[in-house]
């Protein structure tokens, strides 16, 4: 019984720490993917590089 009580108390403390630590985050809504990663820069770089290579290496 004592052990169960201690375990419950530990879980409650952990939950309160986690809730407190996340408190700031919980008030702010999570950002959407399109807000965080607006464009795939590598894909754009690849497209430009492929285009440049095609023009430079096209047979005369």
């Amino acid at each position: 019984m004592k052990t169960a009580g201690l375990i419950l108390e530990m879980i409650a403390r952990l939950a309160s720490v986690a809730a407190g630590a996340l408190g700031g985050r919980e008030k702010e809504p999570a950002k959407r993917v399109e807000e965080v990663w607006t464009q795939n820069r590598t894909a754009l770089a690849k497209a430009e590089a492929d285009d440049a290579a095609a023009k430079a290496l096209e047979p005369n």
């Binding site: 879980i11 894909a43 754009l44 590089a49 440049a52 290579a53 095609a54």
Partner: protein, 154 residues
């Protein structure tokens, strides 16, 4: 730190009311990791492409030879695009979940995990350091889908 807090949330709150918000934060952090990988990879890709083009021209070779030189870099770029796409699908799955339909989330999360793993392999193949955020996102998302699969098996 963010990863530890997310894992704590998953353990303590399980599949309760905060599961959606936890999933949203996980997708946000994963997108941040993908963005970091993109920032690291794109200038290196540009540099590799310039070198490959210069070598191809000097050797008097054709476009096919250029693409052969760029094969590993293109693999990394392809895996980054796969993650980019998977994250947008995951975002739509979250929106559907918020509207009451959570049936698409597990599959979408699985695709993100798969794309993260491929991206890590792709970056390693071209010698680009894997951002810490990317490794942590993979660990967090794998834990999320594993926990959900455990719940489904009970």
């Amino acid at each position: 730190m963010k990863t530890a807090l997310l894992c704590a949330s998953l353990t303590l709150f399980g599949c309760g009311a905060s599961a959606l918000e936890t999933a949203r934060l996980t997708v946000q952090y994963t997108a941040e990791a993908g963005n970091a990988a993109d920032e690291t990879l794109s200038p290196r890709y540009v540099s590799a492409a310039r070198d490959a083009l210069a070598e191809t021209l000097e050797a008097g070779e054709d476009l096919e030879a250029y693409h052969e030189r760029m094969q590993t870099w293109d693999g990394a770029a392809h895996s980054l695009q796969a993650l980019f796409s998977a994250l947008h699908v995951a975002q739509r799955a979250l929106d559907a979940w918020e509207a009451g339909d959570d049936s698409h989330w597990l599959g979408a999360a699985g695709c993100v995990v798969s794309a993260l793993g491929e991206l890590a392999d792709g970056l390693t193949a071209v010698g680009v350091p894997i951002p810490d955020a990317l490794t942590k996102a993979l660990e967090t998302l794998t834990g999320f889908t594993s926990a959900a699969c455990e719940g489904a098996r009970r």
